[in-house]
């Protein structure tokens, strides 16, 4: 079966139990791999079913994760802009900003100087002269851009409304404009979608379990005689079970890897149009793939499902009867 030679060192010679266990595992691993390799059609069908079942929840998870980064604090999207009265000096604006930043539920306050805003506007309009020719001097007030701490507002919507009310009540503030509303709504939607991903994930995880279980069950049916022969020449249950368990492990592992490839390929397919859309909103947003930890978890989950499915199938068979020869 195995043709690679592995020298046994002196220390290992003293541990025959370990050696024989290791030889068993070695045989079971290579044997189960070869069975997959030499039954390519059934192997690929099973792997495809597992990969599809796994890539749906993985893809949804990735979609949600990207949607969440849209509302991340560091992207500065959920902000309240406070337009100050015209007479307010830069120093007063700065003082007010310092006070606001100490409030509960405020992460950050940025002062947008009216001069800077004017310069920016002029640039957009095609030069300072254009604006000045309209007979206007700087019409922009100072603006405070307040970034609230949205973690407070996830479940309860009210504190944010109260914060805005407080901010509006300051004498320097002429008006307030917020883009928080849609972020809060988006978060609520994401929360529902997360639950949906969980439901889908559980159902499709169960699908993987059933697919592997059924594949292994069919494999057992095909190898009934081999199992009986193994039993009557002294094979233990563990020995009989092992190659099937490894079979389940390979299905889980390879199915998981294929599903990751599927998800990342779809992602590559989506990146250009999303970047284009982001550009239209002058955002630096770009789709991100799965990080190492998530990849690792997905593989762990798929391997566990494979092993569990195989275990259930083979244990059911072994319980049934001893030898039928």
């Amino acid at each position: 079966m195995t043709t690679n030679s592995r020298p046994t060192n002196q220390k290992d010679r003293n541990k025959p139990a370990f050696i024989s266990w290791w030889n068993h595992v070695n045989t079971a691993m290579s044997f189960s791999l070869r069975r997959l390799w030499f039954n390519p059609i059934s192997t690929w069908i099973t792997l495809a079913a597992i990969a599809i079942a796994l890539s749906l929840p993985t893809g949804l998870h990735l979609f949600l994760k990207n949607l969440q980064t849209l509302t991340d604090d560091q992207r500065q999207i959920p902000t309240v802009s406070l337009f100050l009265h015209e007479g307010v000096t830069e120093q007063q604006a700065q003082d007010r900003a310092d006070l606001i930043s100490e409030l509960d539920g405020v992460t950050k306050v940025i002062v947008q100087n009216s001069e800077v805003a004017f310069a920016h506007m002029s640039e957009l309009m095609g030069g300072k002269e254009t604006l000045e020719s309209l007979g206007k001097q700087n019409i922009f007030p100072h603006v405070l851009v307040v970034t609230p701490d949205l973690s407070l507002s996830d479940e309860r919507h009210i504190p944010i409304q109260e914060l805005i009310k407080t901010l509006k009540s300051y004498p320097e503030v002429k008006s307030a404009q917020s883009d928080i509303e849609w972020v809060v709504k988006l978060r609520a939607i994401i929360m529902i979608a997360t639950r949906i991903v969980w439901v889908f994930g559980s159902l499709l995880g169960l699908t993987v379990l059933l697919v592997v279980g059924n594949t292994i069950r069919l494999d057992i049916e095909n190898r009934k005689e081999e199992i009986d022969v193994t039993r009557f020449i002294g094979g233990t249950r563990a020995y009989i079970r092992r190659p099937f368990i490894f079979g389940g492990l390979w299905y889980g592992l390879f199915g998981g890897i294929i599903s990751l490839v599927v998800v990342h390929t779809s992602l590559l397919f989506l990146i250009p149009p999303v970047d284009k859309l982001a550009k239209l909103y002058s955002s630096h947003f770009t789709l991100s793939g799965l990080d190492f930890t998530t990849t690792f978890y997905i593989l762990i989950i798929s391997c566990s499902l494979g092993v569990l499915g195989a275990w259930v199938a083979v244990s059911r068979h072994l319980r049934k009867q001893e030898v039928i020869l």
Binding site: M1, S20, G234, T236
Partner: protein, 215 residues
């Protein structure tokens, strides 16, 4: 070595296969088990290999009462017994070598030792040149010899054979019996169930006759 004391076996279907059997085989003995079909020859061999459990009586194998062997000790117990069937139960999806290697793999041997012992075993049944062949490509006699090689590769102390020459022409049958004799001369206790009277009489060994149970 093998001892039956008042052993009876009734199958769940109600069929009484063996009734009140008393029997003793000493270590290194070779004996034939004969009787009409349905007399319980196969059942008797299966009881020794613990493929069946008796309803009554005690069976002692290698000084150990097998009634007291627990379910999970059976695999280890069976490794000391080599069993051969009329339908040799070879695995057709792998080579002759792999079929014979199976008991050694179960024992967890290193593949170097497996190679050596499989080849030694094949040599004893004169099939060394067929180790890479598929059992399906072999003649009936050769298949049976592969079955024997698999049964003896683990150096069992007891060899049980159930109609090993059932499908073979007389010459091949005698050849197979001589092979068993060789293993017996090497020290194994051999018990062969057969209904080929002329053949077993020529072997000049002890013959145990099972009478058919009259209901």
């Amino acid at each position: 070595m093998i001892q039956f004391q008042n052993v009876s076996k009734q199958y769940p279907t109600g069929q009484l296969a063996l009734y009140n059997i008393n029997l003793a085989l000493t270590t290194g003995e070779m004996a034939f088990l004969t009787g009409h079909s349905g007399a319980g020859k196969s059942t008797l061999l299966k009881l020794i290999a613990m493929l069946e459990r008796p309803n009554q009586g005690e069976i002692i194998v290698n000084g150990q009462s097998i009634n007291r062997i627990k379910q999970r000790q059976i695999p280890n117990f069976r490794r000391h017994i080599g069993m051969i069937f009329q339908n040799h139960h070879l695995l057709m999806d792998r080579s002759v070598f792999e079929n014979i290697a199976l008991p050694l793999r179960i024992s967890g041997l290193h593949h170097r030792d497996i190679r050596r012992r499989v080849q030694a075993s094949l040599d004893k049944v004169s099939l060394l040149n067929k180790q890479k062949a598929n059992p399906m490509m072999l003649s009936a006699g050769e298949q049976q010899r592969v079955g024997i090689a698999r049964a003896v590769v683990n150096k069992p102390t007891i060899i049980l054979a159930d109609e090993p020459t059932g499908n073979l022409d007389p010459e091949l049958a005698e050849d197979i019996m001589r092979t068993f004799q060789q293993f017996n001369e090497l020290g194994a206790t051999v018990l062969i169930a057969s209904h080929d009277h002329s053949l077993i009489e020529r072997m000049k060994k002890r013959i145990i006759v099972l009478q058919k149970i009259i209901h």
